[in-house]
């Protein structure tokens, strides 16, 4: 009798503990299930329809996906997004690492330099891109500076119209975004550097290692968690390029679709052509690319990821 009563008491306490826990998680989880999981399934559902402004007209199976890969502008968008990601990620990561190493040394004013280097990362992309469209105009400051150093851009192949020439527009955006994001990457490297024990480097120096050797054989391997994190977040961010493209090139990614990215293409399919089924299919394709890259990165480098799992 005593025993069952005790057991019953414990059970009800367990139940009330559960009730408390569900009290904490019910609303957040309901929001996740509705706004992310449900929306995700709905996206796949929409992508199998011919879905116009009046709603779904007919089920088309995988036709929207087939259509995407036969559209030269979509292929151009994929090419641009991938080219952008492949170029911008190494540049912003290397620059971020370099800046982190610079400000991590024991020098006067390192706090000021750290803030200064992070500065471009805090302003909005709308503000920064607009500013750079102005600075990189044919008569703008950027070309004046180049002229000062003896490079007369008006004689060059694009007459200094960096953002309105299809041969240089994407590269200009790459330069701009490497500059803005390197501050964030620097912070991630700094966080990692502060956990690295300096004993290893000191021991190596005692053993007669050169500065270069210490960097390549000691510091770089110890920064592996930051490398993984910086490359992964950089890649995902790069494939979602939209703001800078629409600001500099408009909805068409002008000139000549040179700034047409995958996300801009979704925007066009959705809000200019009102092909919601098709736009949704492109969204799914983008998700598959990002997801595969993340999985690939995890399997290649082991699951001991930067994000807390180790």
């Amino acid at each position: 009798m005593q025993f069952t009563k005790h057991k019953g008491l414990r059970l009800s306490r367990k139940q009330s503990e559960n009730a408390v826990a569900y009290g904490f998680v019910t609303i957040p989880m309901a929001l996740f299930l509705f706004l992310s999981v449900g929306i995700f399934i709905y996206a796949i559902y929409i992508s199998t329809f011919d879905w116009g402004i009046m709603g779904p007209t007919k089920s088309v199976g995988l036709d929207n996906y087939r259509k995407a890969f036969s559209d030269p502008i979509f292929l151009k968008a994929i090419k641009n997004s991938v080219k952008y990601a492949v170029l911008v990620v190494p540049i912003q990561s290397a620059l971020g690492l370099y800046l982190a190493l610079l400000v991590n040394s024991k020098i006067k004013g390192s706090k000021f330099f750290r803030s200064a280097f992070y500065f471009p990362s805090i302003a909005s992309s709308a503000a920064i891109t607009t500013l750079f469209i102005f600075l990189m105009a044919p008569d703008g400051v950027f070309n004046s500076v180049l002229r000062f150093f003896g490079i007369n851009t008006s004689n060059l192949f694009n007459q200094g119209a960096w953002l309105s020439d299809s041969r240089t527009a994407l590269y200009s955006i790459i330069g701009l975004n490497a500059w803005t994001t390197s501050g964030t990457m620097m912070l991630f490297y700094l966080a990692n550097l502060q956990t690295v024990d300096s004993q290893f480097a000191e021991a190596a120096v005692m053993d007669g290692a050169s500065r270069r050797q210490v960097f390549w054989y000691i510091t770089m391997p110890l920064l592996k968690p930051a490398h993984l994190f910086v490359v992964a977040t950089g890649m995902i961010g790069a494939l979602q390029l939209y703001d800078q493209a629409i600001l500099a090139g408009g909805a068409d990614g002008s000139p000549d679709y040179s700034l047409m990215t995958m996300v801009l293409y979704i925007y066009n399919a959705c809000f200019r052509k009102f092909e919601f089924g098709y736009a949704s299919a492109i969204g799914v394709i983008l998700f598959v690319i990002i997801f595969s890259l993340t999985v690939l990165q995890k399997t290649l480098f082991g699951s001991a990821a930067w994000k807390g799992e180790n």
Binding site: V25, P28, F32, L102, I107, A123, L131
Partner: protein, 276 residues
């Protein structure tokens, strides 16, 4: 460090600082220039004028005050939503035991993998069905619903709650605190640094966001600052001083926030990375 090396080192640091700061100084300078000076190379305007500012404060529709109020309103509401939901869920996942906890946390991690661009079409369809894509005040609800909760913030809060010593909880329990008192009086105060971080990063992200406002906001009266910059850049095309004034005015609040909160931002990179 040799003297020579130190000079080289400092010149590198100063060179890159110039590269990060001068573009912003240039926008500040241009916002005070008369139109005919815009493409001149002088950093200090020869004939400084406030004309650009009187344009953005008065002549443009919507004016700066409206854009600013919208950005502030939307960012503040989203910050509150993120704080509440991330604290609740983060605490439960870190400190409470209940059936299905690991599965639910796995769902949260999965939500971090879903890009906003995939949510665009279904979310838009849903909002149309709910009648939130309109020019009235309920249009704001569309943005709040889209941004109601962030999986990354839940994750961040959980990581932080995991690091709070168990003893603090036990002490409060002995004093007879119930589960919600424990949460509100003990756990939340000790999580203040990470709450500040979530607030700052969410504010910055929402304040700067162009993607969702450009898709959802239907009436100029609801535009945010980044969306306003996108629109006016098209309208003014070559009249740079007012646009630069908008660039300056939209950056100053976020700069102030960063200056005030930078220790939290740097701390959190550490919290989310090294602990677990």
């Amino acid at each position: 460090m040799s003297k020579f090396r130190r000079y080289g080192f400092y010149s590198l640091l100063i060179f890159y600082s110039v590269l990060t700061i001068v573009p912003f100084l240039w926008s500040l300078s241009t916002s005070f220039k008369p139109s005919d000076e815009v493409y001149q190379r002088n950093l200090v305007p020869n004939a400084p004028t406030m004309k650009a500012y009187s344009t953005v404060f008065g002549k443009i529709q919507p004016n700066f005050q409206t854009l600013f109020a919208n950005s502030l309103f939307i960012a503040c509401v989203v910050v509150i939503l993120h704080l509440v939901f991330a604290a609740l869920a983060g605490y439960a996942f870190a400190r409470l035991r209940f059936p299905g906890r690991d599965l639910l946390f796995f769902v949260v991690l999965g939500c971090m993998m879903i890009p906003d661009q995939l949510r665009l079409v279904p979310m838009y369809q849903l909002l149309v069905k709910m009648g939130l894509i309109n020019t009235g005040p309920s249009n704001y609800l569309a943005i709040f619903l889209i941004k109601a909760i962030s999986a990354a913030d839940v994750f961040l809060m959980r990581q932080y709650f995991l690091t709070i010593p168990k003893e603090m909880e036990d002490a409060a329990k002995i004093d007879g605190a119930g589960p919600f008192q424990l949460f509100a009086r003990v756990m939340l105060p000790s999580a203040a640094p990470v709450l500040a971080t979530v607030a700052i990063l969410t504010f910055q992200g929402t304040w700067n966001d162009l993607f969702w406002p450009s898709i959802v906001l239907q009436s100029p009266a609801h535009w945010t600052l980044p969306f306003g910059i996108l629109q006016f850049k098209g309208q003014f095309s070559t009249d740079w001083p007012p646009i630069m004034a908008l660039v300056v005015l939209s950056t100053v609040p976020i700069l102030a926030l960063y200056t005030f909160g930078q220790r939290y931002i740097i701390n959190v990179q550490l919290a989310s990375s090294s602990k677990g």
